[in-house]
């Protein structure tokens, strides 16, 4: 428990201290420590500006979409029926429903990625990035379908009635079934390591960072007492997270889980109002989005720049192919693992195709992305909403803090599952991870957006590298399950209870 503190303190001491604020010191140390890994993940193909990781995601989503015969469109209606509970046996009342598994996973994906991440995409990649983001969301539905089916099929059910699932388990249990036993455990361990990184990065630092940015924004910008004092926001957030995950005060998390869906509804409602207020410009906005996608207008780096930003931010927001959601989805109660796969494909749809697109439309319609003042991240989204509804940045401030918090709680659980997979369960071992998680809240709030977002992306994508690599070998298992289930559904053997 003291080691991470010690490392951090010694690293701080080694940093150049002259005339630097606490925030600047933390940022400098953090950027230096994570630089090499970030450069590797975002390394371009030799002679081009195209990062190999983006191609990796594009190819995976395309392969899954084609291999499963556009399952995201074929099974969409059935997925909705499953979530409605049409196929749920009333005898299972009281168990985790499809709806509950879906919303728990959504609370990990719907967060600052939808609000701030999209702003980053449009400010760098131009309106055209929106097109690629939506496309990535639609194709990502197939990736999510495969990983969540595997998550349920290969989860561990313990004697005491609790369950654990996720890529760690399906990689180590399913690869031996395909005659690749030697690959299973190493991949699972590698995934778990990156998952811990992802939990500290995108699931924690990025959230804290952007929550702080919005708090500064609504309390007076550069004149705010919080300006340049991210460690204050960080400490407060870390304290609340600490109360929940270490102190065991579950009621805070439970209240958040109940409030967040309403905040999401308010956010989408406000976006819709702004879109309706500017209904005459919606056509032009879509025009700019389509044109930008193929001409690269307004994008740093042209078409390729727009595409890279679109795919990067979509993957970061909906986590399709990343493997994280498989951890949450695996808790569902069902006899057919594939049903949770169907349900999970709604996740990228809700997250990216609906919520991210709302954000992007508001930013494009209000024209704020062309602003020369260099707004990025949550400040840009806030300014775009604020230009139409002047009071909205304050509501957004509350929403952002709640989204950040619920994403942190969910990701702390993902990280903890990966951590205990590596080191085993036990109070003290879990405490080490939980305290480290809280320390990273402070680092995240203090560091600059650039360093945080690079590290967060790098970790999330590293998870996707391992997860997708394993899934390529496992997708025939899912195909068999799919054909068996669809056969039963056609034969009327899957009973409808409503």
């Amino acid at each position: 428990m003291t080691r991470p503190f010690f490392l951090l303190l010694s690293a701080l001491a080694a940093a150049p201290v002259a005339a630097q604020t606490v925030d600047e010191q933390i940022d400098a140390v953090f950027a230096t420590l994570t630089g090499p890994f970030v450069s590797f993940i975002f390394a371009p193909f030799p002679g081009t500006a195209f990062p190999w990781i983006v191609l990796w995601l594009v190819i995976a989503a395309t392969v899954f979409t084609i291999y499963f015969g556009f399952i995201q469109f074929r099974a969409f209606g059935h997925a909705l029926a499953l979530v409605r509970g049409d196929y749920s046996n009333p005898k299972d009342a009281g168990e985790v429903s499809h709806f509950q598994a879906l919303t728990a996973a959504l609370s990990g994906t719907v967060g600052l990625g939808n609000i701030a991440g999209v702003a980053v995409a449009v400010s760098i990649g131009g309106p055209g990035a929106t097109f690629w983001m939506i496309l990535a969301g639609l194709m990502g539905m197939a990736s999510k379908f495969v990983e969540c089916t595997l998550g349920v099929k290969y989860r561990n059910e313990y004697a005491d009635g609790t369950v654990s699932g996720g890529p760690m388990y399906y990689l180590s249990k399913a690869l031996p079934e395909r005659g690749l036993a030697w690959m299973g455990k190493p991949l699972a361990v590698l995934f778990a390591i990156f998952c811990i990184g992802g939990s500290l990065g995108g699931g924690n630092m990025f959230q804290a960072n952007q929550a702080h940015a919005q708090l500064v924004n609504i309390t007076g910008g550069s004149d705010s007492f919080l300006s340049g004092a991210g460690w204050i926001t960080g400490l407060v957030l870390a304290a609340v997270v600490f109360l929940v995950i270490v102190g065991g005060i579950k009621s805070i998390a439970q209240v958040t889980e109940k409030v967040v869906p309403f905040m999401a509804a308010i956010y989408c409602g406000a976006a819709l109002v702004i879109i309706l207020m500017n209904i005459d410009q919606v056509g032009a906005a879509f025009g700019a989005i389509f044109a930008g996608a193929f001409t690269g207008a307004g994008a740093t780096g042209g078409v390729v720049g727009a595409l890279i930003q679109g795919f990067r931010r979509a993957a970061f927001s909906n986590e399709a192919g990343v493997g994280s959601a498989a951890i949450a989805h695996s808790a569902v109660r069902t006899k057919e693992p594939i049903t949770e796969g169907f349900v999970s494909l709604l996740e990228p749809f809700i997250d990216t195709v609906v919520i991210c697109t709302m954000t992007a439309l508001v930013i494009v319609i209000t024209g704020l992305y062309m602003d020369e003042s260099g707004l990025g991240g949550v400040e840009l989204t806030s300014a775009a909403f604020g230009s139409a509804l002047s009071w909205f940045p304050y509501v957004l401030g509350v929403a952002v803090v709640l989204f950040a918090f619920s994403t942190m709680i969910t990701w702390s659980y993902y990280g903890l599952k990966a951590w205990t997979y590596l080191v085993g369960e036990g109070r003290n071992r879990e405490l080490v991870f939980k305290v480290t998680f809280c320390v990273f809240v402070v680092i995240g709030a203090s560091a600059q957006l650039g360093a945080v977002i690079d590290f967060s992306d790098a970790m999330i994508f590293a998870m996707a590298v391992v997860n997708i690599f394993g899934i390529y070998f496992l997708m025939p298992i899912v195909k068999t399950e799919l054909e068996r289930y669809l056969g039963m559904l056609r034969a009327g053997e899957i009973r409808k209870f409503v």
Partner: protein
């Protein structure tokens, strides 16, 4: 051979309902009671990933507690008085489940106590008693708690 369904909620009101149901039947004619304890639960509530992971275990615990603390003592007391009765614990919406069980078992009626829930919740969603009276497929008897 009359069967009555009685809703229990672990409160003194539930005991009143059982007492009243007993006065409505003739045990010597083969009449019996079915005690139902409903744990309020909705498949559309929001839960954390951690709660979900332990949900199956929690459900078993909830059922065990309801069996032990509420149903078993009530059934024991009825048995001592020579009344034939069985009991069941279910998760879900109390009004819906009571009606469903009464319908399935071919019960002649449902007896419940007026629930103590008041304020905003019952104003918005109606109380169990009100919902049951309006929607049940068999006659419903509501017993006042203070009676």
């Amino acid at each position: 051979m009359t069967l009555l369904v009685v809703g229990l909620d672990g409160s003194p009101g539930g005991e009143k309902a059982v007492q009243h149901a007993r006065s409505l039947i003739k045990p010597e004619a083969g009449d019996s009671l079915k005690l139902v304890y409903v744990i309020e639960w909705s498949p559309f509530s929001f839960q954390t990933a951690e709660e979900n992971a332990a949900r199956h275990k929690r459900r078993e615990e909830e059922i065990a507690v309801a069996q032990e603390r509420v149903l078993a003592p009530a059934l024991e007391a009825l048995k001592a008085k020579g009344v034939a009765a069985d009991g069941v614990v279910r998760h879900g919406d109390a009004a819906e489940i009571l009606d469903e069980i009464a319908d399935e078992a071919g019960a002649a009626g449902i007896v419940i106590a007026r629930s103590s829930a008041s304020g905003l919740r019952s104003r918005l969603f109606g109380s169990v008693a009100a919902n049951l009276v309006m929607n049940a497929r068999v006659p419903v008897t509501v017993v006042p708690v203070s009676a």
